[in-house]
Amino acid sequence: MERRTLIRQTYKQFDKLILLVLIGLVGLFIVYPIVSIVAFSFRSGGEFSLTHYQSIFSPANRKLIWHSLWTASSAAFFSTVVAVMISLSAVLSGPRWQKGLEKAVMISMISPPFVSSLAFIILFGRRGLITYGLLGLSLNPYGPQSIVLLQALGGIAFASLLLFANLEQIDLFQVLASRDLGAKGQHTLKDIIFPALRPGILSAFFVLFTMNIADFSTPIIVGGSFKTLATEAYLIAVSTPNLGQAAAISVLMVPSALIAFYFYRRNMRLGQTIGAKRSIKDIDLGLRLPGWLRLIIFLPAISYFIITLLKYGVILVSAFANTSSGRIKWTLDYARTLPPNNLAAIGRSVGYSLIAALAATIIGLLISWYTHRRRLPLMEGVEFLTSLPYIIPGTFFGLGYVAAFSSQPLMLRGTAIILITNYCFRQLSVPIKAANTTFSMLDRSIDRAAKDLGASELQTFWTVLLSPLRTAFINSFITVFTSSMMAVGAIAFIVSPGRTVASMELFRSVGQGRYGLASFQAVLLIVIIFVFNLILLLFKDRKGGRDVSRTKRSK
């Protein structure tokens, strides 16, 4: 064979091999665990049975379902409302504030979800700095109202980021046209801005609802005797070897997740526009609103940032002070008595999260390339599967890993691999989405030109597509790393006692009521995440992060 043909053949085979490996990974670490957990829920004593489901619908458990439904939906509702106000504040303020707001929201995401619960208890608990120390009260803060409050607070940043993406889709000229035709600020909000947010609002609400349903950490810490489906599944799974019952409960959480999934996917696909457009991002629209409306919009947004600052402040103080008497007594005890296995856990967290982030980003970019750039048949289906773990409850996905990888030949329990793959495949949708966006803005003729000049598919990817993907790569890496560092939901079920990670250690300290130690661990974790974020952002800025919008197809 001629040398050129031989090389070409090799590339072709290699290309196929990569594709097969990708599909294999998705099958093994996404499909197989999901199938396993569903199978477990229908099995009792080695046979097919509905026992687990029957026991779930007992009157006592029906109460749990009801508890989960109303706390999760009210919290999701409040989060979404505040997030809408935050995004409207971004629209109404000039570019500088807009950027600040976006950064503030990103920073407020950097903390494990139950750190809010921790701060809440330190301030308002039985020996709370405010309730006991300041007001001399000994209130019981535990109960559903606290669950709703804290889940609502926890969801705001996520919902805001989702809505920011919708705002970027708005065409500046539509806003100008509306003003030009005499619409006042409030009319432009109602007719142009709000319709653009609507799909994002639905998506945010249902995704948050699903996250809240699956969240066991908040109810366990601040729920008191109030139980939900998630707490029940968690307690059963960690206290008994009976996986079936917990599996059935977690399967119950899936329908809401599917609804969330529908709206989430739909929102991703939107963005229909006519003709060339210019985003309203970073532009002062000069909309004028009546005072009362400004108050309604800005007050919740400002309150959220004050509360977030307060949260970090409280954690910081509590990390270096004893507050159990209701007063602040400064101390370095928590730092000095930090259990040595804690540092090891932090080391593992960082290592696992870095590996998971790298793997997820590489796998994600490749899948996006095969799906959206190469348009290979069936890849749409594969890509669909990759977005499942992002939306389905963490409890469900975590138990899925227990069900799938607890026996030979795939005995991964107790190894680092199970944690890393769980981190990685849970977040795989992040790099895929980022790459899809980049690809959609990149003219297809670039690939055609490369292939026309003799490059193979793989060479095309490597030589002309990789460099525009740089920003997507770094952004996804940061997001996956950060989420993995803070993950608790799915990890709680698969982490083994000897090889625990930082977020789990923190969760355990909170659960044991060691709030000072927990605060110190939280500060440590937040600082580490923050430092890594900064380092990674340096990478992004160094080469200016190539601006793909310059190669936009529009005129």
């Binding site: 065409d171 000229f173 030009d180 035709l181 005499g182 619409a183 007719d191």
Partner: protein, 301 residues
């Protein structure tokens, strides 16, 4: 004068922007601002629409100073280059939009009033259609109807035909000219297409580097360009002879030599060397079978 721009300026930096721009427009006049991209024509338009605040100068419309008036309250409407139609509303609600807000009509009354304008642009049958089901030409007409519906004292058009293909563009130009005659609305049009400007306008403002090069009727601009730039940008010009290429013809035999022949169908361009100068000659219709290298004489028609 109906519209007066006095000493208007807006500088983005030391070199870019518009400086001391003066222009007077009569009621019912169709004026085009013509120039290459970056010449400042869109900047002037944005200041007229209220989307850009001038550094200095004033805008007087129908005796009222509107320099600092916000867009919502200006009796000025804009047809945007990308039309900026509201994709969440159907055709009739797009057209009714300004009637509801600018004229404060009730929703049903606004829709009723909007019908008249849909009829004006020949889209009565599409009232309930969603925007994204329309063709580019139809979208352009909806945008026009939407702006006309507020009965603006001044209509601004920002390269409204640039997204249409050539054949369609000819048609909509004719339509716009007829519509302007019918409604007698003062229009300010922005384009970089000289043919479009020559065909549509009562007067043309040729712009370059943020300043006016020349103002005049299309014929004045074409036949009596006052600067080299205007002559080059509007049509082409043989510099040595100061004559338009289409005003020259060829005759067999002589001192000049044909260097290059470009056949365009409706016309043919000849590049001819006479002495040491290259001269362009544009001949319309069917031509004798000239060959490159052939000796010719250039004559004025």
């Amino acid at each position: 004068m109906f519209l007066e721009l006095n000493d208007l300026s807006k500088m983005y930096d030391e070199h870019n922007g518009v400086r001391s721009f003066d222009l007077s427009v009569e009621e019912g006049e169709f004026v085009t601002m013509l120039g290459p991209s970056g010449c400042g024509k869109t900047t002037v338009l944005n200041m007229l629409g209220g989307f850009l605040r001038p550094d200095g100068g004033e805008i007087i419309l129908d005796g009222r100073d509107i320099t600092r008036t916000i867009p919502e309250e200006r009796p000025v409407a804009t047809v945007f280059q990308n039309y900026a139609l509201f994709s969440n509303l159907n055709v009739i609600d797009n057209v009714a939009y300004g009637l509801r807000y600018y004229h404060q009509l009730k929703k049903s009354a606004a829709r009723k009033a909007a019908r008249k304008y849909l009829e004006l642009v020949g889209l009565s049958d599409y009232a309930q259609t969603m925007i994204y089901h329309l063709s580019g030409g139809q979208q352009q007409r909806v945008a026009l109807a939407r702006s006309l519906a507020i009965e603006p004292k001044l209509l601004l058009l920002d390269e409204p035909f640039s997204n249409l293909d050539a054949a369609l563009r000819n048609q909509v130009r004719q339509d716009l000219k007829a519509l302007q005659k019918k409604t007698n609305i003062t229009m300010l049009f922005v384009t970089h297409d000289q043919e479009e400007a020559l065909f549509l306008s009562d007067r043309i403002v040729v712009m370059r580097r943020g300043e006016i090069s020349q103002v005049g009727t299309p014929k004045e601009i074409y036949y009596q360009p006052q600067t080299e730039d205007v002559a080059q940008f509007v049509g082409s010009m043989n510099q040595t002879l100061s004559i338009r290429p289409e005003d020259l013809t060829l005759k067999a035999g002589g001192e000049a030599v044909i260097e290059r022949i470009s056949f365009y169908g409706a016309y043919t361009d000849y590049l001819v060397r006479q002495d040491d100068d290259l001269i362009l000659i544009k001949s319309f219709g069917k031509q004798p079978d000239w060959q490159p290298g052939q000796a010719v004489t250039i004559e004025k028609e």
